[in-house]
Symmetry: C2
Subunit: 156 residues, 2 copies
């Protein structure tokens, strides 16, 4: 059977994070984003369950390449309940990363669109994220506009 471009894309399944994704390279993928030491199975399960308690208010999505059984992209969004905007809700997108071997296939765009759609379906009036100036053109292609600046205070 001929391997067409379609069949490659067909093997890239987007879905919510499952507890078995640790075995599929989820933590190694996050390591391409920021500091992330190896996490024990127990600690992973505990954090997975803590997040699962929030239900649709905290959604982590992944793209699995079902040919290799590896997670090749991920991102998360959580829904903040506010009093402003008439008791509105805001979606916060965090920790978007695409595996270095899987770049150029629009996987980042699929992740961000999935997360933004989730926030929209949850009734958010907006979805926000912080990124480097370098990643701004990517997020503009995803329909985002620059608004404010991000400030940070580290405790460690």
């Amino acid at each position: 059977m001929m391997q067409s471009e379609n069949s490659v894309e067909d093997s890239l399944h987007i879905r919510k994070l499952e507890v078995t994704d640790k075995e599929k390279g989820f933590i190694e993928l996050l390591r391409q984003l920021t500091v992330c030491d190896s996490v024990s199975d127990e600690k992973f399960k505990e954090r997975f369950e803590e997040i699962a308690k929030y239900g649709d208010d905290h959604c982590i999505c992944v793209i699995e390449d079902v040919r290799s059984g590896k997670i090749v992209a991920t991102g998360s969004v959580f829904i903040e309940k506010k009093f402003v905007r008439n008791c509105g809700k805001a979606g916060h997108i965090e920790d978007v990363v695409v595996d270095s071997s899987a770049r150029g296939m629009q996987l980042g765009k699929r992740i961000v669109e999935y997360l933004a759609d989730h926030a929209h379906s949850m009734g958010c009036y907006k979805v926000i994220l912080d990124c480097t100036e370098e990643n701004r053109p990517f997020y503009e292609k995803c329909g985002f506009k620059k608004k404010e600046i991000q400030m940070v205070k580290y405790f460690v």
Copy 2:
């Protein structure tokens, strides 16, 4: 009795939001920040209870001027549970506002420090917020540094 500066500051009590704060001008205060129509008592109570379910993971603090019984400053922080940073946590500060009649008394700083301390005590490795370039010097005085840019997508 002489009204000293101390007694004015003594009357400004910082604490967590209570459901009765709606009657103390909490919504009117938020209106100085962004769009916030009048909220029914029922809707306010419903949202208050939704947020209360998160316990210490979503903390809204207020400063009440006990002389007038009015809420004169507020801000919120919620704790995001992550997998990165060895299953770390990040605090997100949102919706900080000081009543226009109560500026110049460092109430904003008290609010931000209260929220950052809360995030720290909850085990966060960092606390972040988005603000305008105009408000950057204020947050620098609170110990924050500029990091990234904020991108937004509105649904309404």
